[in-house]
Protein backbone atom coordinates (compact mmCIF):
# COMPACT_ATOMS: atom_id res chain seq x y z
CA UNK A 1 0.00 0.00 0.00
CA UNK A 2 2.83 2.36 0.84
CA UNK A 3 4.47 1.44 -2.42
CA UNK A 4 1.47 2.61 -4.29
CA UNK A 5 1.38 5.95 -2.51
CA UNK A 6 5.08 6.38 -3.22
CA UNK A 7 4.52 5.61 -6.86
CA UNK A 8 1.71 8.08 -7.16
CA UNK A 9 3.74 10.67 -5.34
CA UNK A 10 6.52 10.10 -7.79
CA UNK A 11 4.17 10.53 -10.72
CA UNK A 12 2.62 13.59 -9.14
CA UNK A 13 6.06 15.06 -8.51
CA UNK A 14 7.04 14.54 -12.13
CA UNK A 15 4.01 16.38 -13.43
CA UNK A 16 3.88 19.22 -10.92
CA UNK A 17 7.62 19.74 -10.91
CA UNK A 18 8.95 22.18 -8.34
CA UNK A 19 5.81 22.18 -6.24
CA UNK A 20 6.29 18.66 -4.97
CA UNK A 21 9.84 19.22 -3.87
CA UNK A 22 8.86 21.96 -1.45
CA UNK A 23 5.57 20.46 -0.30
CA UNK A 24 5.55 17.45 1.98
CA UNK A 25 3.10 14.84 0.73
CA UNK A 26 1.37 13.19 3.64
CA UNK A 27 -1.51 10.74 3.19
CA UNK A 28 -3.73 13.61 4.31
CA UNK A 29 -2.65 16.03 1.56
CA UNK A 30 -2.83 13.18 -0.91
CA UNK A 31 -6.41 12.51 0.14
CA UNK A 32 -7.27 16.20 -0.07
CA UNK A 33 -5.77 16.47 -3.55
CA UNK A 34 -8.12 13.72 -4.78
CA UNK A 35 -11.10 14.73 -2.72
CA UNK A 36 -11.24 18.34 -3.89
CA UNK A 37 -11.58 17.14 -7.48
CA UNK A 38 -14.93 15.60 -6.52
CA UNK A 39 -16.93 18.79 -6.79
CA UNK A 40 -20.25 17.24 -5.85
CA UNK A 41 -18.76 15.68 -2.73
CA UNK A 42 -17.09 18.94 -1.72
CA UNK A 43 -20.43 20.75 -1.98
CA UNK A 44 -22.11 17.92 -0.06
CA UNK A 45 -19.40 18.14 2.61
CA UNK A 46 -19.89 21.90 2.89
CA UNK A 47 -23.63 21.32 3.19
CA UNK A 48 -23.07 18.82 6.00
CA UNK A 49 -20.87 21.35 7.82
CA UNK A 50 -23.57 24.00 7.36
CA UNK A 51 -26.18 21.60 8.74
CA UNK A 52 -24.06 20.86 11.77
CA UNK A 53 -23.56 24.58 12.35
CA UNK A 54 -27.29 25.24 11.99
CA UNK A 55 -28.09 22.40 14.37
CA UNK A 56 -25.66 23.70 16.99
CA UNK A 57 -26.92 27.27 16.73
CA UNK A 58 -30.59 26.32 16.24
CA UNK A 59 -31.83 27.48 19.69
CA UNK A 60 -30.54 31.01 18.92
CA UNK A 61 -31.63 31.01 15.28
CA UNK A 62 -35.24 29.84 15.47
CA UNK A 63 -37.75 32.66 14.95
CA UNK A 64 -40.35 30.98 17.17
CA UNK A 65 -40.45 28.39 19.94
CA UNK A 66 -40.65 25.02 18.17
CA UNK A 67 -42.97 23.34 20.66
CA UNK A 68 -44.81 25.99 22.61
CA UNK A 69 -45.53 28.83 20.23
CA UNK A 70 -48.97 28.65 18.67
CA UNK A 71 -50.01 31.15 16.01
CA UNK A 72 -53.77 30.65 16.12
CA UNK A 73 -54.38 33.31 13.48
CA UNK A 74 -52.62 31.39 10.73
CA UNK A 75 -53.37 27.70 11.28
CA UNK A 76 -52.30 25.61 8.27
CA UNK A 77 -50.91 28.74 6.61
CA UNK A 78 -48.77 28.23 3.52
CA UNK A 79 -45.17 29.46 3.46
CA UNK A 80 -44.89 33.25 3.78
CA UNK A 81 -42.38 35.90 4.80
CA UNK A 82 -43.51 35.53 8.41
CA UNK A 83 -43.47 31.73 8.46
CA UNK A 84 -40.92 30.56 5.91
CA UNK A 85 -42.13 26.96 5.77
CA UNK A 86 -45.73 27.70 6.75
CA UNK A 87 -47.65 26.76 9.86
CA UNK A 88 -48.91 23.34 10.97
CA UNK A 89 -52.52 22.54 12.00
CA UNK A 90 -51.71 23.36 15.63
CA UNK A 91 -50.29 26.76 14.72
CA UNK A 92 -46.61 25.93 15.18
CA UNK A 93 -43.97 27.44 12.90
CA UNK A 94 -42.67 24.62 10.67
CA UNK A 95 -39.34 26.32 9.93
CA UNK A 96 -38.53 26.51 13.65
CA UNK A 97 -39.53 22.89 14.12
CA UNK A 98 -37.39 21.70 11.19
CA UNK A 99 -34.41 23.64 12.52
CA UNK A 100 -34.75 22.23 16.02
CA UNK A 101 -35.41 18.79 14.52
CA UNK A 102 -32.04 18.88 12.79
CA UNK A 103 -30.41 18.66 16.24
CA UNK A 104 -32.27 15.43 16.96
CA UNK A 105 -31.71 13.79 13.59
CA UNK A 106 -28.03 14.70 13.32
CA UNK A 107 -27.37 13.61 16.90
CA UNK A 108 -29.18 10.35 16.29
CA UNK A 109 -27.24 9.78 13.07
CA UNK A 110 -23.81 10.72 14.39
CA UNK A 111 -23.97 9.24 17.88
CA UNK A 112 -25.47 5.92 16.86
CA UNK A 113 -23.00 5.40 14.03
CA UNK A 114 -20.07 6.60 16.15
CA UNK A 115 -20.93 4.07 18.86
CA UNK A 116 -21.53 1.38 16.26
CA UNK A 117 -18.26 2.16 14.48
CA UNK A 118 -16.27 2.25 17.72
CA UNK A 119 -17.58 -1.04 19.06
CA UNK A 120 -17.63 -2.65 15.61
CA UNK A 121 -14.04 -1.60 14.87
CA UNK A 122 -12.82 -2.89 18.22
CA UNK A 123 -14.58 -6.22 17.66
CA UNK A 124 -13.37 -6.42 14.07
CA UNK A 125 -9.74 -5.74 15.02
CA UNK A 126 -9.89 -8.31 17.81
CA UNK A 127 -11.57 -10.94 15.65
CA UNK A 128 -9.28 -10.39 12.70
CA UNK A 129 -6.04 -10.19 14.65
CA UNK A 130 -6.46 -12.99 17.18
CA UNK A 131 -8.43 -15.36 14.92
CA UNK A 132 -9.32 -18.71 16.54
CA UNK A 133 -12.16 -19.00 19.03
CA UNK A 134 -12.29 -15.26 19.61
CA UNK A 135 -12.94 -14.68 15.91
CA UNK A 136 -15.52 -17.43 15.80
CA UNK A 137 -17.50 -16.08 18.75
CA UNK A 138 -17.51 -12.50 17.48
CA UNK A 139 -18.47 -13.51 13.96
CA UNK A 140 -21.20 -15.79 15.28
CA UNK A 141 -22.65 -12.83 17.20
CA UNK A 142 -22.53 -10.81 13.99
CA UNK A 143 -24.26 -13.62 12.08
CA UNK A 144 -27.02 -13.60 14.66
CA UNK A 145 -27.38 -9.82 14.46
CA UNK A 146 -27.41 -10.09 10.67
CA UNK A 147 -30.22 -12.64 10.82
CA UNK A 148 -32.64 -9.86 11.68
CA UNK A 149 -33.61 -8.15 8.44
CA UNK A 150 -33.45 -4.36 8.09
CA UNK A 151 -34.79 -2.32 10.92
CA UNK A 152 -36.37 -5.36 12.58
CA UNK A 153 -33.45 -5.58 15.02
CA UNK A 154 -33.91 -1.93 15.96
CA UNK A 155 -37.65 -2.48 16.44
CA UNK A 156 -36.97 -5.52 18.63
CA UNK A 157 -34.54 -3.55 20.78
CA UNK A 158 -36.98 -0.65 21.09
CA UNK A 159 -39.68 -3.16 22.05
CA UNK A 160 -37.49 -4.29 24.94
CA UNK A 161 -36.09 -0.93 26.02
CA UNK A 162 -39.25 1.06 25.36
CA UNK A 163 -39.73 3.97 22.99
CA UNK A 164 -38.01 7.34 23.02
CA UNK A 165 -35.14 8.88 21.14
CA UNK A 166 -32.39 7.70 23.51
CA UNK A 167 -33.41 4.07 23.09
CA UNK A 168 -33.69 4.55 19.33
CA UNK A 169 -30.06 5.73 19.27
CA UNK A 170 -28.99 2.64 21.22
CA UNK A 171 -31.00 0.41 18.89
CA UNK A 172 -29.53 1.96 15.74
CA UNK A 173 -26.02 1.76 17.25
CA UNK A 174 -26.39 -1.98 17.90
CA UNK A 175 -27.80 -2.33 14.38
CA UNK A 176 -24.59 -0.73 12.99
CA UNK A 177 -22.10 -2.82 14.98
CA UNK A 178 -22.00 -6.02 12.88
CA UNK A 179 -21.39 -4.26 9.56
CA UNK A 180 -18.42 -2.34 10.95
CA UNK A 181 -17.12 -5.45 12.67
CA UNK A 182 -17.19 -7.41 9.42
CA UNK A 183 -15.63 -4.61 7.40
CA UNK A 184 -12.75 -4.08 9.83
CA UNK A 185 -12.18 -7.79 10.33
CA UNK A 186 -11.78 -8.25 6.59
CA UNK A 187 -9.26 -5.43 6.41
CA UNK A 188 -7.40 -6.71 9.45
CA UNK A 189 -7.08 -10.17 7.97
CA UNK A 190 -5.60 -8.66 4.82
CA UNK A 191 -3.18 -6.40 6.71
CA UNK A 192 -1.86 -8.65 9.42
CA UNK A 193 0.23 -10.79 7.09
CA UNK A 194 1.93 -7.84 5.40
CA UNK A 195 5.65 -7.46 5.79
CA UNK A 196 5.57 -4.25 7.82
CA UNK A 197 3.43 -5.91 10.47
CA UNK A 198 5.81 -8.85 10.47
CA UNK A 199 8.65 -6.35 10.89
CA UNK A 200 6.94 -4.64 13.82
CA UNK A 201 6.46 -8.00 15.50
CA UNK A 202 10.06 -9.03 14.91
CA UNK A 203 11.39 -5.98 16.73
CA UNK A 204 9.28 -7.01 19.71
CA UNK A 205 6.26 -4.74 19.45
CA UNK A 206 3.39 -5.89 21.64
CA UNK A 207 0.09 -7.07 20.15
CA UNK A 208 -1.51 -3.90 21.46
CA UNK A 209 1.00 -1.69 19.64
CA UNK A 210 0.74 -3.68 16.43
CA UNK A 211 -3.04 -3.53 16.37
CA UNK A 212 -3.32 0.13 17.33
CA UNK A 213 -0.33 1.67 15.56
CA UNK A 214 0.09 -0.57 12.54
CA UNK A 215 -3.18 -2.28 11.66
CA UNK A 216 -5.82 0.17 12.82
CA UNK A 217 -4.57 3.05 10.61
CA UNK A 218 -4.91 0.77 7.60
CA UNK A 219 -8.58 0.24 8.30
CA UNK A 220 -9.46 3.92 8.85
CA UNK A 221 -10.13 4.71 5.18
CA UNK A 222 -12.78 2.00 4.88
CA UNK A 223 -14.35 2.96 8.20
CA UNK A 224 -14.53 6.67 7.27
CA UNK A 225 -16.23 5.94 3.95
CA UNK A 226 -18.67 3.58 5.55
CA UNK A 227 -19.27 5.99 8.42
CA UNK A 228 -20.53 8.71 6.10
CA UNK A 229 -22.80 6.37 4.14
CA UNK A 230 -24.04 4.84 7.36
CA UNK A 231 -24.98 8.19 8.95
CA UNK A 232 -27.48 8.64 6.11
CA UNK A 233 -28.98 5.19 6.68
CA UNK A 234 -29.12 5.75 10.43
CA UNK A 235 -30.90 9.08 10.09
CA UNK A 236 -33.51 7.34 7.94
CA UNK A 237 -33.77 4.41 10.36
CA UNK A 238 -34.18 6.68 13.38
CA UNK A 239 -36.75 8.80 11.54
CA UNK A 240 -38.58 5.62 10.45
CA UNK A 241 -38.81 4.44 14.05
CA UNK A 242 -40.21 7.81 15.10
CA UNK A 243 -42.58 7.67 12.14
CA UNK A 244 -44.07 4.36 13.28
CA UNK A 245 -44.43 5.80 16.75
CA UNK A 246 -41.51 4.09 18.50
CA UNK A 247 -39.04 6.95 18.69
CA UNK A 248 -39.49 10.60 19.52
CA UNK A 249 -43.03 11.39 20.62
CA UNK A 250 -45.05 14.49 19.74
CA UNK A 251 -44.65 17.39 20.32
CA UNK A 252 -40.91 16.75 19.85
CA UNK A 253 -39.95 18.26 16.47
CA UNK A 254 -38.25 15.09 15.21
CA UNK A 255 -38.60 14.91 11.41
CA UNK A 256 -40.04 11.38 11.29
CA UNK A 257 -42.45 12.14 14.13
CA UNK A 258 -43.47 15.37 12.36
CA UNK A 259 -44.31 13.40 9.23
CA UNK A 260 -46.35 10.97 11.26
CA UNK A 261 -48.31 13.87 12.75
CA UNK A 262 -48.76 15.40 9.29
CA UNK A 263 -50.32 12.19 7.98
CA UNK A 264 -53.67 12.98 9.56
CA UNK A 265 -53.90 16.28 7.69
CA UNK A 266 -52.58 15.27 4.29
CA UNK A 267 -55.88 16.17 2.60
CA UNK A 268 -56.05 19.72 3.90
CA UNK A 269 -52.41 20.73 4.38
CA UNK A 270 -49.90 18.64 2.46
CA UNK A 271 -47.17 21.30 2.93
CA UNK A 272 -46.87 20.20 6.57
CA UNK A 273 -45.51 16.87 5.32
CA UNK A 274 -43.41 18.37 2.54
CA UNK A 275 -40.78 20.16 4.61
CA UNK A 276 -39.83 17.34 7.00
CA UNK A 277 -39.59 15.03 3.94
CA UNK A 278 -37.27 17.45 2.16
CA UNK A 279 -35.23 17.97 5.33
CA UNK A 280 -34.58 14.24 5.67
CA UNK A 281 -33.95 13.88 1.95
CA UNK A 282 -31.38 16.66 1.63
CA UNK A 283 -29.59 15.71 4.84
CA UNK A 284 -29.30 12.05 3.88
CA UNK A 285 -28.43 12.93 0.29
CA UNK A 286 -25.56 15.13 1.50
CA UNK A 287 -24.13 12.33 3.63
CA UNK A 288 -24.47 9.83 0.78
CA UNK A 289 -22.79 12.12 -1.76
CA UNK A 290 -20.05 12.89 0.74
CA UNK A 291 -19.58 9.18 1.34
CA UNK A 292 -19.37 8.49 -2.41
CA UNK A 293 -16.76 11.22 -2.78
CA UNK A 294 -14.73 9.95 0.15
CA UNK A 295 -14.78 6.47 -1.32
CA UNK A 296 -13.56 7.68 -4.68
CA UNK A 297 -10.84 9.75 -3.01
CA UNK A 298 -9.67 7.00 -0.69
CA UNK A 299 -9.89 4.04 -3.03
CA UNK A 300 -6.59 3.63 -4.88
CA UNK A 301 -8.26 1.57 -7.62
CA UNK A 302 -10.44 4.42 -8.86
CA UNK A 303 -7.64 6.50 -10.33
CA UNK A 304 -6.39 3.72 -12.55
CA UNK A 305 -9.67 3.49 -14.44
Amino acid sequence: MNDRVDLEEAEGAASTGALASTEVRTPWTEFWRKFKRQHVAVIAGAFVLLLVLLAVLAPWLVPYDAENFFDYDSLNALPSAKHWFGVDPLGRDIFSRILMGSRISLTAGFVSVAVGALVGTALGLTAGYYAGWCDRIIMRICDVLFAFPGILLAIGIVAILGGGMFNVIIAVAIFSIPTFARLVRGNTLALKHLTYVEAARSIGASDWTIVLRHIFPGTIAAVVVYFSLRVGTSIITAASLSFIGMGAQPPTPEWGAMLNEARADMMTSPHVALFPSLAIFFTVLAFNLLGDGLRDALDPKIEQK
Partner: protein, 306 residues
Protein backbone atom coordinates in the same frame (compact mmCIF):
# COMPACT_ATOMS: atom_id res chain seq x y z
CA UNK B 1 -25.14 -29.89 -5.00
CA UNK B 2 -27.54 -31.70 -2.65
CA UNK B 3 -24.69 -32.33 -0.27
CA UNK B 4 -23.77 -28.67 -0.29
CA UNK B 5 -27.37 -27.72 0.33
CA UNK B 6 -27.63 -30.01 3.34
CA UNK B 7 -24.33 -28.74 4.67
CA UNK B 8 -25.45 -25.14 4.39
CA UNK B 9 -28.81 -25.96 5.95
CA UNK B 10 -27.09 -27.55 8.94
CA UNK B 11 -24.80 -24.54 9.17
CA UNK B 12 -27.86 -22.40 9.79
CA UNK B 13 -28.90 -24.40 12.82
CA UNK B 14 -26.56 -22.72 15.37
CA UNK B 15 -27.49 -19.23 14.15
CA UNK B 16 -31.18 -20.02 14.24
CA UNK B 17 -30.82 -21.63 17.68
CA UNK B 18 -29.23 -18.44 19.04
CA UNK B 19 -31.86 -16.29 17.34
CA UNK B 20 -34.52 -18.54 18.87
CA UNK B 21 -32.85 -18.24 22.28
CA UNK B 22 -32.78 -14.46 22.01
CA UNK B 23 -36.41 -14.32 20.95
CA UNK B 24 -37.26 -16.60 23.86
CA UNK B 25 -35.36 -14.42 26.31
CA UNK B 26 -37.16 -11.43 24.84
CA UNK B 27 -40.11 -11.95 27.20
CA UNK B 28 -37.76 -12.06 30.15
CA UNK B 29 -35.95 -8.93 29.03
CA UNK B 30 -39.15 -6.91 28.90
CA UNK B 31 -39.47 -4.45 31.73
CA UNK B 32 -42.14 -5.57 34.15
CA UNK B 33 -43.74 -8.91 34.83
CA UNK B 34 -45.04 -10.65 31.68
CA UNK B 35 -47.72 -12.45 33.68
CA UNK B 36 -49.05 -9.16 34.99
CA UNK B 37 -48.85 -7.75 31.48
CA UNK B 38 -50.88 -10.70 30.18
CA UNK B 39 -53.42 -10.61 32.99
CA UNK B 40 -54.15 -6.94 32.49
CA UNK B 41 -53.81 -3.95 34.79
CA UNK B 42 -56.89 -4.69 36.93
CA UNK B 43 -56.11 -8.33 37.70
CA UNK B 44 -55.92 -9.52 41.31
CA UNK B 45 -52.71 -11.23 42.54
CA UNK B 46 -54.54 -14.57 42.35
CA UNK B 47 -55.38 -14.05 38.70
CA UNK B 48 -51.79 -13.05 37.96
CA UNK B 49 -50.58 -16.24 39.65
CA UNK B 50 -53.03 -18.28 37.58
CA UNK B 51 -51.91 -16.61 34.37
CA UNK B 52 -48.29 -17.21 35.34
CA UNK B 53 -49.03 -20.90 35.75
CA UNK B 54 -51.00 -20.97 32.53
CA UNK B 55 -48.14 -19.39 30.55
CA UNK B 56 -45.67 -21.72 32.22
CA UNK B 57 -43.74 -18.77 33.61
CA UNK B 58 -43.51 -20.45 37.04
CA UNK B 59 -41.25 -23.17 35.69
CA UNK B 60 -37.46 -22.97 35.52
CA UNK B 61 -35.86 -21.13 32.62
CA UNK B 62 -34.48 -24.23 30.82
CA UNK B 63 -37.86 -25.95 31.17
CA UNK B 64 -39.58 -22.92 29.71
CA UNK B 65 -37.10 -22.85 26.85
CA UNK B 66 -37.79 -26.48 25.96
CA UNK B 67 -41.50 -25.74 26.02
CA UNK B 68 -40.95 -22.73 23.78
CA UNK B 69 -38.83 -24.68 21.27
CA UNK B 70 -41.28 -27.59 21.29
CA UNK B 71 -44.14 -25.21 20.58
CA UNK B 72 -42.24 -23.23 17.96
CA UNK B 73 -41.37 -26.39 16.01
CA UNK B 74 -45.09 -27.15 15.81
CA UNK B 75 -45.88 -23.58 14.87
CA UNK B 76 -47.33 -22.85 18.29
CA UNK B 77 -46.28 -19.48 19.66
CA UNK B 78 -48.99 -19.13 22.25
CA UNK B 79 -51.90 -16.79 22.09
CA UNK B 80 -52.08 -13.11 21.32
CA UNK B 81 -52.66 -11.09 24.48
CA UNK B 82 -54.85 -8.69 22.57
CA UNK B 83 -57.17 -10.92 20.55
CA UNK B 84 -56.67 -14.15 22.56
CA UNK B 85 -56.34 -16.01 19.24
CA UNK B 86 -53.36 -18.26 18.47
CA UNK B 87 -50.35 -16.27 17.25
CA UNK B 88 -49.95 -18.67 14.32
CA UNK B 89 -53.47 -17.81 13.10
CA UNK B 90 -52.83 -14.10 13.49
CA UNK B 91 -49.63 -14.36 11.46
CA UNK B 92 -51.04 -16.74 8.85
CA UNK B 93 -53.74 -14.21 7.98
CA UNK B 94 -51.16 -11.50 7.48
CA UNK B 95 -48.52 -13.52 5.66
CA UNK B 96 -49.80 -13.41 2.07
CA UNK B 97 -50.19 -9.62 1.69
CA UNK B 98 -46.64 -9.02 2.95
CA UNK B 99 -45.22 -11.85 0.89
CA UNK B 100 -46.75 -10.62 -2.36
CA UNK B 101 -45.88 -7.03 -1.63
CA UNK B 102 -42.21 -7.98 -1.14
CA UNK B 103 -42.16 -10.17 -4.24
CA UNK B 104 -43.69 -7.51 -6.48
CA UNK B 105 -41.37 -4.85 -5.09
CA UNK B 106 -38.33 -7.10 -5.55
CA UNK B 107 -39.30 -8.01 -9.11
CA UNK B 108 -39.71 -4.49 -10.46
CA UNK B 109 -36.81 -3.04 -8.52
CA UNK B 110 -34.36 -5.68 -9.72
CA UNK B 111 -35.38 -5.30 -13.36
CA UNK B 112 -35.41 -1.50 -13.33
CA UNK B 113 -32.34 -1.23 -11.12
CA UNK B 114 -30.29 -3.52 -13.33
CA UNK B 115 -31.47 -1.79 -16.49
CA UNK B 116 -30.42 1.61 -15.14
CA UNK B 117 -27.13 0.15 -13.93
CA UNK B 118 -26.29 -1.47 -17.28
CA UNK B 119 -27.23 1.61 -19.29
CA UNK B 120 -25.18 3.80 -16.95
CA UNK B 121 -22.18 1.52 -17.33
CA UNK B 122 -22.44 1.51 -21.12
CA UNK B 123 -22.65 5.30 -21.31
CA UNK B 124 -20.20 5.80 -18.46
CA UNK B 125 -19.61 9.44 -17.53
CA UNK B 126 -22.02 10.64 -20.21
CA UNK B 127 -25.46 12.08 -19.59
CA UNK B 128 -27.45 8.79 -19.32
CA UNK B 129 -24.99 7.71 -16.62
CA UNK B 130 -25.15 11.04 -14.81
CA UNK B 131 -28.95 11.00 -14.91
CA UNK B 132 -29.21 7.36 -13.84
CA UNK B 133 -26.83 7.78 -10.94
CA UNK B 134 -28.48 11.02 -9.84
CA UNK B 135 -31.81 9.18 -9.68
CA UNK B 136 -30.14 6.31 -7.85
CA UNK B 137 -28.50 8.41 -5.15
CA UNK B 138 -31.78 10.26 -4.67
CA UNK B 139 -33.53 6.92 -4.36
CA UNK B 140 -31.35 5.77 -1.49
CA UNK B 141 -31.69 9.15 0.23
CA UNK B 142 -35.46 9.48 0.15
CA UNK B 143 -37.05 7.73 3.13
CA UNK B 144 -39.69 5.16 2.17
CA UNK B 145 -42.37 6.62 4.39
CA UNK B 146 -41.98 10.08 2.85
CA UNK B 147 -42.03 8.62 -0.66
CA UNK B 148 -45.15 6.63 0.19
CA UNK B 149 -46.94 9.71 1.46
CA UNK B 150 -45.87 11.67 -1.62
CA UNK B 151 -47.05 9.00 -4.07
CA UNK B 152 -50.31 8.59 -2.20
CA UNK B 153 -50.88 12.35 -2.24
CA UNK B 154 -50.26 12.61 -5.99
CA UNK B 155 -51.78 9.45 -7.46
CA UNK B 156 -54.51 8.64 -4.98
CA UNK B 157 -55.61 11.89 -3.39
CA UNK B 158 -55.06 14.42 -6.20
CA UNK B 159 -55.43 12.36 -9.38
CA UNK B 160 -57.71 9.60 -8.03
CA UNK B 161 -55.96 7.09 -10.28
CA UNK B 162 -55.20 4.56 -7.60
CA UNK B 163 -56.69 3.53 -4.25
CA UNK B 164 -55.08 4.93 -1.08
CA UNK B 165 -55.11 2.12 1.47
CA UNK B 166 -55.96 -1.57 1.66
CA UNK B 167 -54.91 -4.65 -0.32
CA UNK B 168 -57.98 -5.78 -2.19
CA UNK B 169 -56.98 -5.71 -5.86
CA UNK B 170 -53.83 -5.53 -7.99
CA UNK B 171 -54.26 -1.76 -8.18
CA UNK B 172 -53.71 -1.61 -4.43
CA UNK B 173 -50.28 -3.12 -4.93
CA UNK B 174 -48.92 -0.44 -7.26
CA UNK B 175 -48.14 2.39 -4.84
CA UNK B 176 -46.89 0.31 -1.90
CA UNK B 177 -44.64 -1.80 -4.11
CA UNK B 178 -43.25 1.31 -5.84
CA UNK B 179 -42.53 2.81 -2.43
CA UNK B 180 -40.96 -0.33 -1.05
CA UNK B 181 -38.86 -1.09 -4.12
CA UNK B 182 -37.52 2.41 -4.82
CA UNK B 183 -34.53 2.20 -2.50
CA UNK B 184 -33.70 -1.33 -3.64
CA UNK B 185 -33.88 -0.31 -7.30
CA UNK B 186 -31.47 2.54 -6.50
CA UNK B 187 -29.03 0.26 -4.71
CA UNK B 188 -29.23 -2.33 -7.50
CA UNK B 189 -28.58 0.37 -10.11
CA UNK B 190 -25.45 1.60 -8.34
CA UNK B 191 -24.21 -1.88 -7.72
CA UNK B 192 -24.92 -3.18 -11.23
CA UNK B 193 -23.18 -0.17 -12.72
CA UNK B 194 -19.98 -0.68 -10.78
CA UNK B 195 -19.80 -4.41 -11.43
CA UNK B 196 -20.65 -3.89 -15.11
CA UNK B 197 -17.97 -1.23 -15.50
CA UNK B 198 -15.42 -3.74 -14.21
CA UNK B 199 -16.64 -6.46 -16.54
CA UNK B 200 -16.59 -4.30 -19.66
CA UNK B 201 -12.84 -3.93 -19.10
CA UNK B 202 -12.21 -7.67 -18.92
CA UNK B 203 -10.13 -9.39 -21.56
CA UNK B 204 -12.93 -11.68 -22.71
CA UNK B 205 -15.10 -8.68 -23.49
CA UNK B 206 -12.30 -7.19 -25.56
CA UNK B 207 -11.93 -10.53 -27.32
CA UNK B 208 -15.63 -10.70 -28.06
CA UNK B 209 -15.51 -7.22 -29.52
CA UNK B 210 -12.35 -7.98 -31.47
CA UNK B 211 -13.89 -10.96 -33.18
CA UNK B 212 -16.60 -8.64 -34.50
CA UNK B 213 -19.60 -9.47 -32.37
CA UNK B 214 -22.26 -6.78 -32.39
CA UNK B 215 -22.10 -4.65 -29.23
CA UNK B 216 -25.59 -5.74 -28.14
CA UNK B 217 -24.46 -9.37 -28.09
CA UNK B 218 -21.29 -8.55 -26.23
CA UNK B 219 -23.31 -6.84 -23.55
CA UNK B 220 -26.09 -9.38 -23.29
CA UNK B 221 -24.06 -12.54 -23.53
CA UNK B 222 -20.61 -11.76 -22.19
CA UNK B 223 -21.38 -8.86 -19.92
CA UNK B 224 -24.74 -9.48 -18.33
CA UNK B 225 -24.26 -13.09 -17.41
CA UNK B 226 -21.03 -12.41 -15.56
CA UNK B 227 -22.37 -9.28 -13.95
CA UNK B 228 -25.24 -11.29 -12.51
CA UNK B 229 -23.11 -13.03 -9.89
CA UNK B 230 -22.38 -10.06 -7.62
CA UNK B 231 -25.81 -8.66 -8.44
CA UNK B 232 -27.54 -11.80 -7.17
CA UNK B 233 -25.59 -11.56 -3.90
CA UNK B 234 -26.82 -8.03 -3.54
CA UNK B 235 -30.34 -9.18 -4.23
CA UNK B 236 -30.20 -11.55 -1.29
CA UNK B 237 -29.01 -8.81 1.01
CA UNK B 238 -31.69 -6.47 -0.26
CA UNK B 239 -34.40 -8.96 0.60
CA UNK B 240 -33.65 -8.27 4.23
CA UNK B 241 -33.95 -4.59 3.51
CA UNK B 242 -37.32 -5.20 1.86
CA UNK B 243 -38.62 -7.29 4.75
CA UNK B 244 -37.62 -4.53 7.15
CA UNK B 245 -38.84 -1.80 4.84
CA UNK B 246 -42.22 -3.48 4.47
CA UNK B 247 -42.84 -2.70 8.14
CA UNK B 248 -42.71 1.04 7.50
CA UNK B 249 -44.50 0.91 4.14
CA UNK B 250 -47.33 -1.15 5.61
CA UNK B 251 -47.89 1.54 8.21
CA UNK B 252 -48.09 4.24 5.53
CA UNK B 253 -50.55 2.33 3.34
CA UNK B 254 -52.42 0.67 6.19
CA UNK B 255 -51.50 -2.64 4.59
CA UNK B 256 -52.95 -5.73 6.31
CA UNK B 257 -49.59 -7.47 6.53
CA UNK B 258 -47.09 -8.75 9.08
CA UNK B 259 -45.27 -5.43 9.35
CA UNK B 260 -48.28 -3.57 10.59
CA UNK B 261 -49.14 -6.47 12.85
CA UNK B 262 -45.66 -6.12 14.36
CA UNK B 263 -45.99 -2.38 14.88
CA UNK B 264 -49.40 -2.82 16.51
CA UNK B 265 -48.05 -5.65 18.66
CA UNK B 266 -45.09 -3.54 19.85
CA UNK B 267 -47.47 -0.68 20.53
CA UNK B 268 -49.67 -2.85 22.71
CA UNK B 269 -46.87 -4.96 24.18
CA UNK B 270 -48.43 -8.10 22.71
CA UNK B 271 -45.24 -10.05 23.24
CA UNK B 272 -46.27 -13.53 21.99
CA UNK B 273 -47.07 -11.93 18.60
CA UNK B 274 -43.76 -10.00 18.62
CA UNK B 275 -41.88 -13.22 19.39
CA UNK B 276 -43.56 -15.13 16.58
CA UNK B 277 -43.08 -12.37 14.02
CA UNK B 278 -39.44 -11.66 14.83
CA UNK B 279 -38.67 -15.36 14.57
CA UNK B 280 -40.54 -15.69 11.29
CA UNK B 281 -38.94 -12.60 9.73
CA UNK B 282 -35.48 -13.86 10.64
CA UNK B 283 -36.16 -17.37 9.43
CA UNK B 284 -37.43 -16.01 6.13
CA UNK B 285 -34.37 -13.81 5.70
CA UNK B 286 -31.89 -16.57 6.52
CA UNK B 287 -33.61 -19.00 4.15
CA UNK B 288 -33.66 -16.47 1.32
CA UNK B 289 -29.92 -15.98 1.71
CA UNK B 290 -29.48 -19.72 1.43
CA UNK B 291 -31.51 -19.79 -1.79
CA UNK B 292 -29.39 -16.95 -3.16
CA UNK B 293 -26.24 -18.93 -2.44
CA UNK B 294 -27.66 -21.87 -4.34
CA UNK B 295 -28.59 -19.63 -7.26
CA UNK B 296 -24.89 -18.92 -7.82
CA UNK B 297 -24.43 -22.44 -9.10
CA UNK B 298 -27.20 -22.01 -11.62
CA UNK B 299 -25.82 -18.74 -12.95
CA UNK B 300 -22.16 -19.59 -12.82
CA UNK B 301 -21.20 -23.21 -13.43
CA UNK B 302 -17.60 -22.32 -12.58
CA UNK B 303 -18.52 -22.19 -8.91
CA UNK B 304 -18.12 -25.63 -7.40
CA UNK B 305 -20.12 -26.47 -4.32
CA UNK B 306 -18.09 -28.03 -1.60
Amino acid sequence: MLQYFIKRLLGLVPTLAIVGGLVFLFVHLLPGDPARLAAGPDATPETVALVRQDLGLDKSLPEQFLRFVGGAVHGDFGRSLRTKRPVSTEIAERFAPTFWLTVVAMAWSVVVGMAIGVLSAIWRNRWPDRLGMAIAVSGISFPAFALGMLLMQIFAVQLHWLPTVGADSWRHYILPSLTLGAAVAAIMARFTRSSFVDILQEDYVRTARAKGLPESRVIMKHGLRNALIPVVTMMGLQFGFLLGGSIVVEVVFNWPGMGRLLVDAVDQRDYPVIQGLVLLFSLEFVLINLVVDLLYGVINPAIRFR
